[in-house]
């Protein structure tokens, strides 16, 4: 319901100045650059992906709260007019029902694309995702899953996540770590419009259930050239979006723009940072991160979710296991604080540029 105006509206305020439209989209998997590219924002890129998904597969369906009106963030604009109310439809407010329904729909060989209006509302559906979707294939010995295995349809659950400046307790959370503890699902988070389109199409066409978290802060804010054609970006492949030699920074989604600013600042002090976008958190690309840490000898992980039990902890443990002798400093984590997401003092809670910069320096000078 309503954050859709906030992101644009709030930009004028100093409080959110930390987010700048950014350009970490260096080289993408779509590569060949055939066809046209237009400068669009992230929600339009998602919208394009959904149009393509429905157009290229007449067994694809989009459903969720308010989606036939275009959704509160406008991601589903025009879908219902174009593809009809039988394929793009509103559901009641019932997250558990939405996901369970999606699993059944997918099990009959359809591509179910469910929207949970805010990631904060995904918890009523947690049981369906964790117990039903994730384990369907395993416990049936591959007879059933969220899709018929050899036809490759599937279930994708889209949900906007993360801070927006003043969303408060229930419109700001980053719940990705809960889902990264669940073998059987994939967790994907894009950082930019071009990434969002390519990754979402991959998720929709993946034969596994996928939770796709969209950085709502960037819906309007992030603008870049996005090819108009149908393209997919590989899942479970991280991308080095900035080369460096002194320290490796690992992140995903909206946090990468903050990290990139910290990298730029650090560069002024002569510190060369390598920045990796993990893109897929589960199953994640350990090799790319490991190779980078072997080169730099230092690693910093940053996410908005609280530090304790966050996905940064998993990356940290894996890197220590794999690169222990190569590490020249303890793994650094710059994350949300271990408090509920606050309404007041949001900037204090957040892993801001200065906190990251500080940790970069502390790690490099260890």
């Amino acid at each position: 319901m309503g954050l859709r105006n906030i992101i644009g509206k709030r930009l004028g305020l100093g409080l959110v100045r930390r987010r700048k439209p950014f350009s970490t989209a260096t080289c993408d998997g779509d590569g060949n650059g055939n066809g046209n590219a237009k400068s669009i924002n992230l929600y339009s890129a998602i919208n394009q992906a959904l149009h393509i998904a429905l157009e290229t597969d007449n067994r694809a369906f989009v459903f969720g709260e308010d989606v036939s009106f275009g959704g509160v963030f406008r991601c589903t604009t025009g879908l219902s007019d174009r593809f009809g109310k039988a394929r793009v439809f509103n559901t009641p407010l019932c997250e558990q029902g939405i996901v369970g329904f999606g699993i059944g729909l997918a099990a009959m060989g359809n591509r179910a694309i469910a929207e949970i209006q805010f990631a904060d509302y995904i918890y009523p559906a947690f049981d369906q995702i964790v117990n039903e979707a994730a384990k369907f294939r395993y416990r049936s010995g591959n007879q059933f899953n969220c899709g018929v295995s050899n036809k490759f349809p599937g279930l994708t659950i889209r949900a906007p996540y993360g801070a927006v400046g003043h969303g408060g307790h229930y419109h700001s959370q980053s719940p990705e770590a809960f889902f990264c503890h669940v073998p059987g699902i994939k967790v994907v988070i894009p950082r930019s419009p071009r990434q969002a389109k390519g990754l979402l199409l991959s998720c929709i066409r993946d034969p596994n259930p996928v939770v796709f978290f969209e950085p709502k802060w960037l819906y309007r804010l992030a603008v870049e050239e996005v090819p108009e054609h149908d393209y997919m970006l590989p899942l479970s492949e991280a991308e080095v979006i900035r080369q460096g030699s002194d320290i490796t920074l690992v992140g995903w989604g909206a946090q990468l723009s903050v990290m990139e600013q910290a990298c730029n600042e650090a560069e002024k002090d002569g510190i060369s940072c390598e920045l990796i976008d993990l893109k897929t958190l589960l199953p994640w690309d350990k090799e790319t991160v490991e190779a980078s840490v072997r080169k730099t000898g230092r690693v910093l992980i940053s996410h908005e979710a609280p530090v304790t039990g966050g996905f940064g902890a998993e990356i940290s443990a894996s890197i220590v296991e794999r690169c222990f002798l190569r590490l020249e400093a303890p793994v650094a984590r710059v994350c949300g604080l271990d408090t509920p997401f606050p309404l007041v003092f949001e900037p204090f809670y957040m892993p801001t540029k200065n906190k990251i910069l500080d940790a970069i320096k502390a790690t490099v000078n260890y």
Binding site: M1, G2, L3, R4, N5, I6, L13, E65, D66, F69, V72, N90, T91, P92, L93, C94, Q96, G97, D120, Y121, Y123, P124, H166, G167, G168, H169, Y170, H171, L337, D338, T339, P340, P342, L343, V344, F345, P347, F348, Y349, M350, T352, N354, K355, D358
Partner: protein
């Protein structure tokens, strides 16, 4: 739906006049504060699995004037919150209650502060009806120390423990099972009190509602599930989201009552009836047929999924404040000017409270870490820029 809804309200307006004319013929003497008055509700109650209470509601001049004042205050307060939000003095999410005031005041008139109320995020007016002050409201809205939740909750999270107002919950439908827990505790301690668990028509389709209905019926809990049906779950009309928008019947084996939620006296009568019922027989659903003038939240203009005619139609035909105003005038309990003066007074009260709330400081930064657990968390942190002091808390 919009059309049939309007049709229904038009028929209501004619029935509104009925009790007035009959009351006029009684030619009651002016005022006489507590002298009893009987007023007929706008429309009959519709019942499910129970016998509906009488349409004749006992009231008195004092109560009617209190209703008028309280609702005018709530209305003014919500309008002021709208302006404060637009001036960016209120952050976060903000859901306004104007239009639905009769539910809050009518319910309060039927129960005591020992009864519990728990609601969702459209909670400002319920808080006030439970005795919360305007200063606490505006300070909380603006995230100040003087707020009812110390400025840490914001619009969606108002609470008042001393009068058993359990808040203020952000997730659609989640508060209703909590209400069952409150009711069980009340039953266990045999203190003859009940819990009113409020939710909207949107929340009525959440699975938790049915879980709550079942356990409250299974264990005969003194729980009253109040569906505030304002006919739109966010931007979705009730009939688009519910196979049966007859929410008072949705409990199946749980009795229900449909009430004109724009008529404070009908709400009072229904809540009185429901409390007696719940203490004797267990849960009951009250569906309050009401209307919100504002959009769902501040980023919803509220005009894309319904017509302006529909909104102005409700304002003209069913407005809860205007209904009471007409009753007061028709019974000669006050003059038009006296009522205008009341409205002026509440406007000033609201303005004063806002001024006072603005003086209240923001919470201490350390409050970010308090109340996460019973004791402190031992968090160590830097400020947003590293110039701030490092804070280590217990």
């Amino acid at each position: 739906m919009a059309l049939s809804h309007l049709g229904a309200s038009a028929s209501r307006s004619s029935s509104l006049l009925k009790p007035l004319s009959s009351a006029l013929s009684l030619r009651r003497p002016i005022s006489g504060d507590n002298s009893p008055l009987t007023v007929e509700t706008s429309v009959p109650f519709t019942s499910h699995q129970c016998e509906a209470p009488s349409r004749s509601v006992e009231t008195n001049p004092k109560e009617l004037l209190t209703f008028f004042r309280d609702m005018a205050l709530m209305r003014r307060m919500e309008i002021a919150a709208d302006s404060l939000y637009k001036a960016k003095l209120i952050r976060g999410f903000c859901h306004l209650y104007d239009g639905q005031e009769a539910v809050a005041v009518g319910m309060e008139a039927a129960i005591t502060k020992k009864d519990c109320i728990i609601t969702a995020y459209r909670d400002h007016c319920t808080f006030v009806s439970r005795g919360g002050t305007l200063l606490e409201v505006f300070a909380e809205l603006m995230g100040r120390q003087a707020g009812c939740s110390k400025g840490k909750g914001g619009s969606m999270h108002f609470y008042k423990k001393d009068s058993n107002f359990y808040g203020g919950h952000g997730i659609v439908g989640a508060q209703v099972p909590l209400g069952c827990g409150l009711a069980f505790a009340q039953k266990y301690s045999k203190d003859e009190t009940v819990t009113f668990a409020l939710y909207g028509d949107g929340a009525a389709n959440q699975g938790q509602l049915f879980e709550a209905l079942n356990i409250s019926a299974l264990w005969d809990l003194p729980a009253i599930l109040v569906c505030e049906n304002n006919h739109y779950g966010m931007g979705t009309a009730e009939w688009r989201a519910a196979k049966s928008p007859a929410y008072y019947k949705r409990g199946d084996y749980v009795p229900g009552l449909k009430v004109d939620g724009m008529d404070a006296l009908a709400v009072k009568q229904a809540c009185k009836f429901a409390k007696e019922h719940a203490l004797k027989n267990g849960p009951i659903i009250l569906e309050m047929d009401t209307y919100r003038y504002h959009g769902h939240s501040m980023s919803d203009p509220g005009s894309t999924y319904r017509t302006r005619d529909e909104i102005s139609g409700v304002r003209q035909e069913r407005d809860p404040i205007e209904r009471i105003r007409k009753l007061i005038l028709s019974h000669d309990l006050a003059t038009e000017k006296e009522l205008k003066d009341v409205e002026k007074e509440v406007r000033k009260e609201v303005d004063d409270a806002i001024a006072q709330a603005k003086e209240s400081p923001m919470p201490e930064p350390s409050e970010l870490f308090t109340n996460v657990y019973a004791k402190g968390l031992g968090v160590e942190s830097f400020g947003a820029d590293r110039k701030e002091v490092r804070a280590t808390l217990p």
